[in-house]
Amino acid sequence: MDIIINGKTITVTTGLSILGVLDHLQIAPQHVAVEYDGKILAPDDFGVTRVQDGGRLEIVQFVGGG
């Protein structure tokens, strides 16, 4: 199925969780803030929220330093 991540369409396995999507993209889940279809997710929701076909994800990644 296709999902839209930060405006770009990518194809992923059906039924993936947010955690699965992050793993697919090789992004560390503890370093991101995620919005799914306009809803801001708590990190605890990453494992239980399943992305649907056509779902929109906004992923903001953080790197250390301040």
């Binding site: 503890q30 995620v34 990190p43 903001v60 953080f62 250390g64």
Partner: protein, 270 residues
């Protein structure tokens, strides 16, 4: 006509000049600032003008200090800044520098939160002094900000921020600035604050280590009322340290974003 002299309303004759105002209100003043800009020569004034008369070297009384400090501001800005409350999560390199900028601007109140104490390794980029080593950063920064602008109301939280206490500590802020060092802490703060207060702006930072070009640090909008400063990629890591210039540039991007948000402007637009 009515004008402001050192922020006090004064009724003066039409066509009066800045030099006549100086002679009338403070003849020993040697600096005359008209509408935010020093005027070495006498100039005619008009209704609503703002004149600040300063005698160099004189420490003014508390009630006059505020007006004199803001003499170089763009007129009209100060009153709006004074009404704002800004939270700063983390007062290391980013947080201490942007706090200094916001205090100098005259932002009315600041909430400072950090769990750390001042260490020698902080002094390469953070706004602390050698004699403050060992002090909680929030205490040291509060002291430093008071020496800069005693008008700013400052409250502090000395402890670790987590998903439980973030909504409580920052309940009163109009705008929050994320200024942590750790990527994980940044992510927790952003997720927690945006879920609890989606209507309030948040200004975060990511990617400011090293000494790559200053021009790669930008302010972007990455969500509803969510702004991100930095180059997005330059992590602090072995071989790439944190330096005062780029840390300060990112901190001042954040401070300027806050200033623009208070003034009703989008931070990332021209």
């Amino acid at each position: 006509m009515k004008i402001l002299v050192n922020e006090r309303k004064c009724d003066v004759p039409d066509l009066i000049t800045s030099e006549e105002i100086r002679l009338r209100y403070k003849p020993d003043a040697d600096l005359v600032v008209v509408n935010g800009y020093p005027e070495p020569d006498s100039c005619p004034l008009k209704e609503g003008d703002r004149v600040v008369l300063i005698r160099r070297g004189e420490i003014p009384a508390a009630e006059e200090l505020e007006a004199l400090m803001m003499a170089r501001h763009t007129p009209g800005v100060h009153a709006r800044l004074k009404g704002a409350c800004v939270g700063i999560a983390g007062v290391g390199g980013l947080g201490s520098s942007l706090a200094v900028a916001l205090a100098r601007c005259g932002v009315g109140s600041l909430i400072l939160a950090d769990f750390d104490v001042v260490e020698p390794s902080n002094l390469n980029r953070q706004q602390y002094f050698i004699d403050q080593i060992g002090l909680p950063k929030v205490v040291a920064l509060q002291n430093n900000l008071r020496r800069i602008n005693p008008q700013v109301e400052i409250s502090t939280f000395f402890g670790r921020l987590d998903s439980h206490n973030i909504p409580e500590v920052f309940a009163g802020v109009d705008i929050l600035v994320e200024a942590f060092d750790s990527a994980e802490q940044k992510a927790i703060l952003v997720s927690t604050f945006r879920r609890h207060f989606p209507e309030r702006p948040l200004v975060a930072a990511s990617g400011l280590a090293g000494y790559d070009s200053a021009n790669s640090i930008v302010t972007r909008k990455v969500g509803e009322r969510f702004y991100l400063v930095g180059d997005g990629v330059s992590a602090a890591q072995p071989g790439r340290g944190l330096m005062a210039p780029r840390t300060g540039i990112a901190a001042h991007h954040q401070a300027n974003a806050v200033l623009r948000l208070i003034l009703g402007l989008e931070p990332h637009e021209d």
